[in-house]
Assembly symmetry: C2
Homo-oligomer: 232 residues x 2
């Protein structure tokens, strides 16, 4: 009654194996050539199946792509955990760091997908763009609400929460993209996490004479020795 055998010719894969095989090949091709350059022929060649087989499992190129993106987007989403301000076991800082770290980890674990998501996911067609925008808006919305709540609690500085959300996500996105593109070692993830956190927590500009309203340093009389490192 055993349905599957090892392999007779090149066929005989268990249940949904073929589909996975095609997905994997597509991911490979997309990340190598980009969505628009990629052809069905590329994908089936890479998967080692015939053209017709592809259409047994997917509507068209767009559909495979959507499948890949959906899975990945889900992983990213799952990596994010809502901040719990009442949690005694973990400070807000640690929770924020954990989120950054988790997203970084998810992306570094799937570099090809990260690259695909960042470079090709937008501009496929208006339907797909809408889908991406929806996913993106969900994330932005979530962060915006968190920030608003944070402001209520006095742990997030003033400012339009949505703008702060865009700034944060933009910063993270860019670093993510560069980390993946430049082939950063997975080990640097922790260092990067800390750098991002520091950035969100304190920015980096320490201008001496500063008429800025968002003051960072205690109250700095004028300019206390522009040394290589800011005090306090």
């Amino acid at each position: 009654m055993a349905v599957r055998r090892t392999s007779k010719k090149r066929t005989g894969l268990p249940k949904g194996e073929r589909r996975q095989q095609i997905l994997a090949a597509a991911r490979e091709v997309f990340s190598k050539r980009g969505y628009h350059q990629a052809t069905i022929d590329d994908i089936v060649a890479s998967a080692g199946v015939a053209r017709g087989t592809f259409y047994l499992y997917f509507e068209d190129k767009r559909a495979v792509f959507a499948d890949l993106v959906d899975r990945f987007a889900a992983k990213i989403t799952m990596a994010i955990v809502s901040i719990e301000t009442e949690d005694a076991r973990s400070s807000v800082s640690d929770q924020v760091r954990a989120n950054i770290r988790a997203i970084l980890g998810a992306c570094l674990a799937e570099r090809p997908m990260t690259k695909i998501l960042f470079t090709d996911a937008v501009g496929i067609d208006s339907d797909f763009d809408r889908k991406i925008a929806t996913f993106y808006d969900t994330v932005v919305q979530l962060l915006t609400e968190s920030l608003r709540e944070g402001q209520r609690l006095g742990i997030v500085a003033d400012g339009e929460p949505r703008v702060l959300a865009y700034l944060s996500i933009g910063a993270l996105k860019e670093l993510l993209y560069q980390a993946v593109t430049l082939g950063l070692a997975e080990e640097s993830a922790d260092v990067l996490t800390q750098q991002i956190f520091d950035f969100l927590a304190a920015g980096y500009l320490r201008t001496p004479v500063d008429r800025t309203r968002a003051r960072t340093t205690p109250r700095k009389p004028k300019n206390d020795k522009p040394a290589a490192r800011r005090p306090a």
Copy 2:
């Protein structure tokens, strides 16, 4: 001897007018349909010229696109002014703000191009990608060097300058994109500039009990009334 007339049929445009006309039409089409959806027919239809005329002025779709992107990239580049720390007339903060403001202004003044640059410029083909990457690297390099110099002078916090550059540019890019996409009024530019500046200067996280090395607030005992607004 006067070469140009008003217009005889639909022809007779002065010197390089036709080219401009096609460029404008292309910009319109690209921003509306996206690079990949756009066809030469779309462009010539929008420009009101024949298919053949297009090829009198451009090699192919890619070439028009490159032309548009080049012009725009040049404008952005010109908007950026190197920070002069010795300048007595303008503080570093003001110069930073001015740069942010200039870039914002340039992008808001050409929304379609901004949108095109952000959504379509990557993934055309590997040649074009390389070109974009080069432009981008120039900007990153410039900022990285500035930050390194800033660290030397003690007006930029510690941290890998390149990472800080990515974070800043990412944040700016994202806000830019959203501002343009969501059709933000040009008037908000100043407010946004300030928000971005504040973000770069001080981040926004003001977590109470903080084992973080990059401390922001003076030294906050524990949590002094989680009011709606953080204390000075």
